[in-house]
Each structure stands twice: as structure tokens, then as C-alpha cells.
């Protein structure tokens, strides 16, 4: 079953083509890595899927409904690249704000706090946390209502290797439970943890593969190298 279908998507902003005829499908219960250099259109693509970006043409369908449909707001969790949380509220208050919007109570809040490993910081003001901790507060706000679809824009930026490993383990377990995740990153090292990879460059989809498929197509075991080869040889390699 497909969770997300993107069909011939074009976004032109201020006369500049940001996303150029993009099509792909994301299967349910998987982790899809959205990779590409900074400025390649990853954030714009996520914003299109979550329904806050005006599009020029094309069609985007989530769980059988057009992107931005009001009924999807109970199904889609989204974190922006800069953690969009309230620095003047505590960790628990931030997450409670989102839980309440979905009609959930204390149990859901406590569970989300535990899942992101912030139980000890629950009553601290977000302002006093480290960058990596703030990121996890933002993530917990998206997780708290157990959405069917999670769209995470660079959730692992600024995290140490241990936390990064733990988060990817969390993503895998969420996917195993049926959640569909799209995770953007500009770190190719994270690509091997994904079920599928979408490689963007300058608004074009360079590749849509499993990590193994990408290695096979580019003839290198190293994903970093694979990406460089794709970028240098243009789309024909994909």
C-alpha cells in the first residue's frame, strides 16, 4: 500500500524552479530517506507533502487524500528543520500543547517524553536545553499523537552519534509498527539506515532506490561515493 504518492510535482518560487517534475511513491510502514545537499529542495518537498507549500502543478496524495486535506491533520506529524517549539515553556508543556490538540492526555505526553529520552528534563524550560535536546522536544510533539505519517526535516542535526543511533532505532521501530516516515538529511551516512532513498539535487530527483539498489546502480559500496557519482554523472546513472 502506498502512503504517499507524488505525481509530476512542480514548485516554482519567485520564477525559480525549486522542484522540477518529481514523481515517487512511499510505501506504508517504511523509512524513506530524503537526501541531498543543502538547497536541493528537501524542505520544500516536505512542506508540499504536509500541505503548507503552494505548488505550481502536479498531484500529491497522502493516505488516499490530497495533501493539505483537513482530515489529514490527525494523521500527519511534522517537524521543521529549526525546532519549532516554545522556548518559554517546559518540555512537558510543549508536548502537552500538541497532545491537547489531538484530544490526548497525560499518558500520551509521558510516553512521548520517555520515547525521546527526556524524562529527566520534563520540567525544564526548553530555553535551558541543549540544541540536540530541543530537537527531541520538537520530535516528541510530532510523535505524541502517534500519526500514521511522520515527516521529519533533518531531525538528527546536532545530535551526537549515540543519540543519532537511538533515534534511527526509534524510526525503525515506528516503521515496524506501521508508521510511514520520511526523514530528510544531508548526511549520507544516515542513508544506510533507510528502507528507501530519494536523492534530490537542484530540485530534481536523481535517484529512487533501496540502499542496496543504489550501491548496485552506481557500482560502489560506499553511499557517499554513490551519491557523488550520481551527482557527477547526471541522471543517466539513476
Amino acid at each position: 500500500m502506498q502512503s504517499i504518492t507524488v505525481d509530476d510535482l512542480v514548485v516554482v518560487r519567485g520564477g525559480v524552479s525549486v522542484l522540477d517534475h518529481i514523481s515517487f511513491k512511499v510505501p506504508a510502514g517504511s523509512v524513506t530517506g530524503l537526501l541531498g545537499p543543502s538547497g536541493s529542495g528537501k524542505t520544500t518537498l516536505l512542506r508540499v507533502i504536509v500541505g503548507v507549500q503552494r505548488i505550481t502543478s502536479g498531484a500529491v496524495t497522502l493516505l488516499g487524500r490530497p495533501a493539505g486535506d483537513a482530515r489529514l491533520r490527525h494523521e500527519v506529524g511534522y517537524t521543521t528543520q529549526a525546532p519549532s517549539v516554545y522556548p518559554d515553556l517546559t518540555v512537558a508543556e510543549n508536548i502537552r500543547t500538541h497532545a491537547t490538540l489531538h484530544g490526548l492526555g497525560r499518558d500520551a505526553v509521558d510516553e512521548a517524553i520517555t520515547v525521546v529520552g527526556l524524562a529527566e528534563q520534563a520540567d525544564r524550560l526548553v530555553r535551558t536545553l541543549s540544541g540536540g535536546q530541543v530537537n527531541r522536544v520538537s520530535l516528541a510533539c510530532a510523535l505524541v499523537f502517534k500519526p500514521a505519517l511522520l515527516l521529519l526535516d533533518e531531525p538528527t542535526v546536532g545530535l551526537d552519534p549515540v543519540l543519532r543511533r537511538d533515534l534511527w532505532a526509534l524510526f525503525a521501530s515506528l516503521a515496524a509498527d506501521g508508521t510511514t516516515l520520511v526523514v530528510s538529511s544531508h548526511v549520507m551516512e544516515e542513508a544506510r539506515r533507510c528502507d528507501r532513498l530519494l536523492l534530490l539535487r537542484e530540485g530534481r530527483l536523481l535517484a529512487d532506490h533501496t540502499p542496496e539498489g543504489l550501491r548496485a546502480v552506481t557500482g560502489t559500496p560506499d553511499l557517499d561515493e554513490a551519491f557523488l557519482r550520481l551527482v557527477e554523472h547526471g541522471e543517466e546513472a539513476a
Binding site: 493539505g68 500527519v76 521543521t80 529549526a82 517549539v85 500543547t97 490538540l101
Partner: protein, 245 residues
């Protein structure tokens, strides 16, 4: 519109306000200190203070709530929290009403403090009804909040939001009847003033303090202020765009 979501938003904004002790103190103390300064300034001409004080009780909550609200909304926008909220089941009306409710409660505290200082410590003439006086002050605060919400979509930075104060608020202060009574203004100035909601706020306040009973004019003014609040909130809700370029 969903009452649960309105209350959730109001509670969240309220928690943020409670943490910001300095802003709270400034919002509550500054109007009281300014009223005292006015009374000292006109110590030799108390009738001037008696004319100004009720008008000021209407103007202060309007200014402070306008500023606080527009900056708060711009902050939601620039921090990305607004975009995120709009991907949740929270409706635009829920958000705007939640803000209005939270700042309305704050306005009630502010108005109560300023009215107490004016009536008890500064010997302002007793109004026809103290509760109605506080009601008008709170309505003015809500007017400030509503205009702040309505205009916040025009500002992309906090700097711009603050500049709306001289652009939107100062003309109203000049023409609302505080400095020159509206009856003594040139006809065209009076006509402009009639299009400004603050005029009705000041009119209601001065009518209240100049009479032994609540004149029906006060209720008309309150209705006009209420209408302006509704229109501004509606503008605020419709200019919140879920989808942006």
C-alpha cells in the same frame, strides 16, 4: 471553532505569559505609574486630570495589548511554531480566539489595577458604575489584541510589528478625543475620528465618569467596540495562511 482547542491555546499562551514576569510587571505597573504622573503634572489644574484620566484608562490597555499581541504573533510566525500549529487540527479561529482569551484575562487584571489606582489613590471622579468602567477598559484591551492579531500578518519581523504602533495607534490617540475633545475638532478631522475605534472607547469612558447613571451612549460605544473586535479577529483568522509560497 472548537472550545477545547480555544481553551488549550489560551492555556498555552497563559503559561508563556506567566513565565514572563517582567512583561507582566510592565503591563500592570506602567499604566498605574503613568496615571500618577498625569495627576502630578496637572496638580494645579485637577479638572484637566479629571478629563484625561478616564480617557487614559481606555487608551492604556489598547496600546499595551496591541503591542504585546502583534509581537507575539510575529514571533509565532518567525519561529515556525505557527506553520507547525496550522498542520495540526487547530483551526485558525481557534488560534485567534485562544490568543484573545488569554490576553483578555491579562487585560482584566491590568484594567482592575489601573482603575483601582485612578479611583482610590488619585481621586478620579467616581464613574456611574465601576464594573462598567472595567468592562470598557477590558473591551479596549480586546480591541488592541484584535487589531494586533489582524495586522500581524502584514509584519514579517518584530521590527515591523513595533512600527505599526506609530502607524496605527498614534493617529487614533491624536484623534480619539483625548487631546482635543471631538466636538471641538475641524469637521474633516471629526469625520476621520469617527472611523477610528479608539474614539468610541474614549467616549464611553468620559461619558461614564461625567454622569450619575450609565448613559445609553456607553452601551452603543461598547457595541461599536465589540463589532470592531469581531471584524479585526475575523481579519486575523482569514489572513493566517495555511499554505504559503
Amino acid at each position: 471553532m472548537n472550545p477545547r482547542l480555544v481553551l488549550a491555546t489560551a492555556a498555552r499562551v497563559g503559561s508563556q505569559l506567566r513565565r514572563d514576569r517582567r512583561t507582566l510587571a510592565l503591563l500592570i505597573v506602567v499604566p498605574c505609574v503613568l496615571l500618577w504622573l498625569f495627576s502630578e503634572l496637572f496638580a494645579d489644574a485637577p479638572f484637566i486630570f479629571q478629563r484625561l484620566a478616564p480617557a487614559l484608562l481606555g487608551v492604556f490597555p489598547f496600546i499595551s495589548m496591541f503591542l504585546v499581541t502583534s509581537v507575539a504573533m510575529v514571533r509565532e510566525r518567525t519561529s515556525g511554531t505557527l506553520e507547525r500549529l496550522l498542520t495540526t487540527p487547530l483551526g485558525r479561529g481557534d488560534l485567534v480566539l485562544g490568543y484573545g482569551l488569554a490576553f483578555g484575562v491579562l487585560a482584566l487584571i491590568q484594567a482592575a489595577a489601573a482603575c483601582t489606582v485612578a479611583l482610590v489613590l488619585l481621586d478620579m471622579d467616581q464613574p456611574a458604575s465601576v464594573p462598567v468602567l472595567v468592562l470598557v477598559a477590558v473591551a479596549n484591551a480586546l480591541l488592541g489584541t484584535a487589531l494586533g492579531l489582524g495586522l500581524s500578518s502584514l509584519a514579517t519581523t518584530e521590527f515591523q510589528a513595533v512600527q505599526f504602533l506609530p502607524a496605527v495607534v498614534l493617529p487614533q490617540i491624536l484623534l480619539c478625543g483625548l487631546i482635543v475633545p471631538t466636538a471641538q475638532m475641524a469637521g474633516w478631522l471629526d469625520a476621520i475620528s469617527r472611523a477610528m475605534p479608539l474614539r468610541y472607547a474614549v467616549e464611553a469612558m468620559t461619558t461614564l465618569t461625567g454622569a450619575p447613571t450609565v448613559d445609553s451612549r456607553v452601551w452603543v460605544d461598547l457595541a461599536i467596540i465589540g463589532g470592531c473586535v469581531v471584524v479585526a479577529l475575523a481579519i486575523g483568522a482569514t489572513t493566517l495562511r495555511r499554505r504559503t509560497a
